[in-house]
């Protein structure tokens, strides 16, 4: 029996998430792991946008910010349960992505990059300036999700870090599963077609503007949920989550590992999330190393780490 590439990807992902804890010497590793999954989720969304549809966004942290602050604000002001607040954030992100995406996605290349960048910066500016609502640059507290207490009541007792490791890992697998399904659906084919050539796609009847918007809205929802998870996990949030550097990190994660490959992109998220943790000893060198890694990978492995390495291994086997 031969497994489809979709099943293989999901199996590898799930297996790594399930088996890795065996090797964790301390709870700190669960924490890093769950951060990787949260970032991996946002990056999975960018795989749809960058890898499938070939569009770029330097403003997706804006959506992460919307998701994060929805979880902080909606429970306090609307009395919503944090989980519902995350759904509300995702819906809001989708609506905003729909409105902003329509004019923005007419643009190409650098123009698209800058328009999306402008959008992201405006969101982070609102979050840090409307201090009476958002607490400004100092950030604000986020209520407890409460799922862990429910699990405890039915006999599954997890520590806080273990719970978040398992929960965000689960959300990541579901997110990756949905994205992989999309890849093989008619919509996915349309996206890949317009990635290859917009004119050719239009010629065979693909509504290019519509499908670009679909990819943009979906990736915004992924970013929003990722922001919500981060906020709920940290129980605290600052406007940095929506900042320009966070947008750049997300795109870099996706492209570093290989935006054309789901596992590659998640690997990119893992590398860039772990790098600062490893480099805390050399904190002063963190920026230097990050910049260097970004340049070297893009110059020498244009498709990203995983696809480039896979190609090299395949080349040797033949």
């Amino acid at each position: 029996m031969r497994l489809s590439s979709k099943a293989t990807t999901l199996l590898i992902l799930a297996a790594v998430i399930a088996i890795a804890p065996v090797f964790f010497p301390s709870s700190y590793y669960f924490r890093v792991g769950s951060l990787i999954f949260v970032n991996g989720l946002a990056v999975t969304g960018l795989v749809i946008l960058i890898g499938y549809a070939g569009q770029i966004s330097l403003g997706h942290a804006g959506f992460a910010g919307i998701g994060a602050y929805a979880c902080a604000l909606a429970p306090v002001h609307l009395g919503l349960h944090p989980a519902l607040a995350a759904v509300l954030g995702a819906a809001l992100s989708a609506a905003i992505a729909f409105l902003v995406g329509r004019p923005i996605l007419r643009l190409k290349g650098y123009y698209l990059a800058v328009a999306s960048l402008g959008f992201g910066i405006l969101v982070s500016m609102v979050l840090s300036n409307e201090a009476q609502l958002t607490g400004g640059p100092d950030g604000m507290a986020v209520p407890e999700l409460g799922l862990r207490a429910v699990l405890k009541a039915i006999g599954i007792d997890l520590s806080n870090t273990e719970f978040w490791y398992a929960f965000s890992g689960l959300v990541l697998v579901i997110g990756a599963w949905l994205a992989l399904n999309l890849y093989h659906s008619p919509t996915g084919r349309a996206l890949r077609a317009l990635h290859g050539s917009e004119v050719a796609a239009r010629t065979v009847g693909v509504d290019v503007a519509h499908y670009k918007l679909v990819a943009f809205v979906l990736s915004a929802v992924y970013a929003s949920v990722s922001g919500s998870l981060l906020a709920l996990q940290n129980k605290f949030i600052t406007p940095d989550v929506a900042g320009f550097m966070h947008s750049i990190e997300m795109v870099t994660m996706a492209v570093l590992g290989g935006a054309g490959s789901m596992l590659g992109a998640i690997l990119g998220a893992a590398i860039l999330t772990t790098l600062p943790q490893v480099l805390t000893v050399f904190q002063e060198y963190e920026q230097l190393m990050l910049g260097l890694v970004m340049m070297l990978v893009m110059i020498f492995m244009r498709e990203g780490l995983l696809p480039s390495i896979a190609r090299r291994i395949r080349g040797r086997a033949e």
Binding site: I50, I56, L58, P103, I104, R106, L107, G109, Y110, Y111, A113, V114, A115, L117, G118, F119, I121, L122, M125, N129, S197, V199, F244, I248, V251, T252, V255, L256, A259, E284, Y285, E286, Q287, L288, M289, L290, G291, L292, V293, M294, M295, M298, I299, F300, R302
Partner: protein, 290 residues
């Protein structure tokens, strides 16, 4: 009215800096089709290197000269080590490479120098000059005059010299330029050197007013980019007008609406311009060849 004039004057000063950053973008974009997100770091380097050379005992003009030459060297290195090896890479990769370069330069500056905020003395004192009820710092006049002088020199360079025309030819069509014997690699190197030197000069001129530290580059790059886009990517005249407009708009926003949202002005403008006229004020309408 003095209020309006005051905002206008400070807007023009800041705008002149944005115009210089936008000009740096334009030169590199024309020569290589790359938008160099590290452009703001050149401004930062200009200010930082001048400060440390001056603090080491060198006279200010010499320190400034060293800063400009060193930054030009860094610009050339950026081209040789990061941009040329990646020729033909997709836009996303190029964006990440130049942002990576910008983060790298920031990290290196923080290691080589420090994380403090620095300032060196203004060129001709700090005594404000009164104009019609508004005041302007002598250093602002230096900034504005410096920007105008650079634009004028570049105009002469591009229209009156052979090498300037070679740069323009390369910008128009790289292959055609190669066919008539233009060394396009040299043109690339020259463009990065010029662009970096102009950025550094902007840093030297403006540091006595705005101060500098290792992390000022990113904001400047984004504003300069906004200005270049406003004027129309790839057009030096557009860079000048876009920069001044953006500076004035920011000063007006800060003065009449909200100083907190001053920085938002730039991005609202970008979005508005891109929606209404994606080619910018002076850009050419482009059509894709299939």
């Amino acid at each position: 009215m003095p209020e309006l004039l005051q905002f206008l004057l400070s807007g023009i000063t800041v705008g002149a800096v944005y115009a210089l950053v936008a000009l740096g973008f334009t030169i590199i974009y024309n020569a290589s089709d790359v938008v160099n997100f590290a452009q703001g770091e050149f401004v930062m380097l200009g200010g930082m290197i001048t400060f440390f050379a001056h603090a080491a005992g060198l006279p200010l003009p010499l320190a400034a000269l060293i800063a400009i030459i060193a930054t030009a060297g860094i610009g050339v290195a950026l081209n040789k080590l990061a941009i040329e090896p990646a020729r033909g890479a997709p836009v996303v990769s190029l964006i990440i490479i130049t942002i990576g370069a910008s983060i790298f330069i920031r990290g290196a500056t923080q290691l080589v120098f420090d994380k403090q905020i620095h300032r060196f003395p203004a060129f001709s004192g700090d005594q404000p000059i009164l104009i019609g009820g508004a005041t302007i710092l002598p250093q602002s006049l230096w900034v504005i005059a410096g920007a105008l002088a650079i634009f004028f020199c570049l105009w002469l360079f591009f229209t009156r010299t052979l090498i300037g025309r070679a740069v323009l030819a390369t910008a128009n069509n790289r292959i055609a330029a190669q066919l008539v014997g233009i060394n396009t690699n040299y043109v690339m190197t020259l463009s990065f050197a010029m662009s970096a030197a102009i950025g550094a000069l902007a840093g030297v001129l403006v540091t006595p007013i705005t101060l500098t530290s290792y992390d000022v580059g990113l904001a400047l790059a984004l504003k300069g980019f906004a200005a270049a886009m406003l004027g129309g990517m790839g057009n030096p005249k557009g860079a000048l007008v876009g920069g001044l407009l953006l500076g004035i708009l920011e000063a007006m926003t800060a003065g009449y609406i909200s100083s907190q949202y001053k920085d938002a002005a730039a991005f609202v403008v970008i979005l508005a311009v891109l929606f209404a006229m994606p080619q910018g004020l002076f850009g050419r309408k482009s059509t894709d060849r299939v």
